[in-house]
């Protein structure tokens, strides 16, 4: 390993992650991508999904992100997200409730306005991803 890159994940409300990492993978709109040290300058929009990174000791971390951008530079990765949570901060109960709510809304709303539909779909997506990330933390 040639070295580490600086990973920063910030939301409007706080700085969620500011750490060194060996490798970072993030869900770009055109597909998942990984960043090692020396990456070409790169800017992309992100999907709702999980940013995964390995700390210098090899520990694996997951961070939920939604609605954001990532900028990769040779020595750093910056993620600007509307919301971001570390795996241990995910509120599983809330995500479950949000999932049910979104499913209900989608079920009864197929015919209604496209905007509401898209919004419910986005909420569903966020809830699913949150739960998926939270699942991974359980001891196998």
């Amino acid at each position: 390993m040639a070295g580490t890159i600086k990973l920063e994940i910030v939301t409007p409300e706080r700085v969620v992650v500011s750490e060194e990492a060996q490798i970072v993978t993030a869900p770009g709109t055109l597909g998942e991508f990984g960043v090692l040290i020396g990456h070409t300058p790169f800017l992309t929009a992100l999907q709702t999904g999980a940013v995964r990174y390995l700390d210098p000791q090899g520990g694996e971390h997951f961070v939920f992100v939604s609605g954001g951008f990532a900028e990769a530079l040779p020595d750093r990765v910056t993620v600007l997200a509307e919301s971001a949570e570390r795996r241990r901060d995910i509120d599983v109960e809330r995500a479950r409730a949000a999932l049910e709510r979104a499913q209900k809304r989608l079920a009864e709303q197929r015919s209604r306005e496209a905007v509401d539909f898209a919004r419910a779909q986005a909420a569903l997506q966020r809830a699913l991803v949150r739960l998926k990330i939270a699942e991974k933390s359980r001891p196998q």
Binding site: V10, P12, R14, T40, P41, T44, E71, L80
Partner: protein
């Protein structure tokens, strides 16, 4: 001399007032700390955002996006007015509303209709009084822990309204937080997005990125995503600054009120003691006079 009792009552009343203003001062001080912290924690995001947006805009050039291009004919404008929900904060709301009023009058004189988005009860009430059209109002969030979501929702409406050509310009009036002792009402354009300044990168950061930065999906598409978000970012900042300014203004106003109470209590106590002493002297004179008369 019933005044002796009156003065005493008055002193009591002023003491009670002082207790309240003092408490409000301390509450405002602690809320101000919270508001300042929120402003602090928003800064990294805002800086990074401005940095990336500046580079993208420079690359995409002007007129690359409908939110960037100024319209030639201004048929209607929209003003976002940020004030506080509650009073007792000195000239805070008056100053903001004056700014809005000057703008409103100017547009009215030019025959351009102006609609409003009101953050805060004071501004909303003023809009009602002026019989101005209120497109949306947001009460109960100013001065609290404002969520980014609030700004986002409102910004979405603004962008939709702008793109639907309900108005051709959007401005915002808010209180800029300069220092704890100084807050200035400012009027800024929100839409079309004013020319984006290049923000200097953090010192020591990687320099040569413009020419070979890869963009996904494309620079123009990214810009299209970021510009509406920029409105949320600007609005959120305005809300945070106004909230912090409100607490700072209230803290100062209450501090002055407490000082005025102290002065009043001091003067009243002096008056009370004087009156009491005068009464004693008068009584003594009576007794001495009586004794002299008996001797005679």
């Amino acid at each position: 001399m019933a005044t002796l009792k009156d003065v005493k009552n008055k002193i009591k009343a002023v003491r009670k007032t002082r207790q309240i203003t003092k408490a409000m001062n301390m509450v405002a001080a602690s809320k101000l700390r919270g508001a300042q912290e929120r402003m602090e924690s928003f800064r990294p995001y805002a800086r990074k955002f401005a940095e990336v947006l500046g580079h993208l805009a420079a690359r995409a050039g002007e007129g690359a996006h409908p939110l960037l291009a100024p319209r030639e004919e201004i048929r209607a404008v929209h003003l976002v007015l940020c004030t506080s929900d509650r009073g007792l904060c000195g000239g805070f709301n008056t100053n903001l509303i004056e700014k809005a009023q000057a703008f409103y009058r100017e547009k009215k004189a030019a025959g351009i209709p102006c609609s409003f988005t009101a953050f805060g009860r004071k501004g909303r009430n003023w809009c009602r009084k002026m019989n101005a059209e209120i497109e949306s109002e947001h009460l109960g969030i100013m001065g609290t822990a404002v969520k980014f979501g609030e700004a986002q929702g409102a910004a979405r409406t603004l962008v939709e309204g702008y793109l639907a050509e309900r108005y051709d310009q959007v401005w915002i009036v808010y209180a800029e937080f300069l220092t704890v002792a100084r807050q200035a009402p400012v009027l800024r354009p929100l839409l079309p997005v004013p020319p984006i300044e290049q923000v200097a990168r953090e010192p020591g950061a990687y320099e040569g990125w413009l020419p070979e930065h890869l963009c996904e999906p494309s620079a123009a598409a990214l810009l299209g995503e970021m510009l509406p978000r920029n409105v949320s970012v600007q609005l959120y900042r305005a809300l945070l600054e106004t909230s912090a300014s409100e607490h700072a203004a209230r803290m100062l106003a209450m501090d002055n009120a407490t000082k005025a109470c102290n002065d009043m209590i001091h003067n009243l106590t002096l008056a009370y003691n004087k009156a009491r002493q005068a009464a004693i002297t008068a009584e003594l004179m009576d007794i001495v006079g009586g004794a002299e008369a008996l001797k005679g």
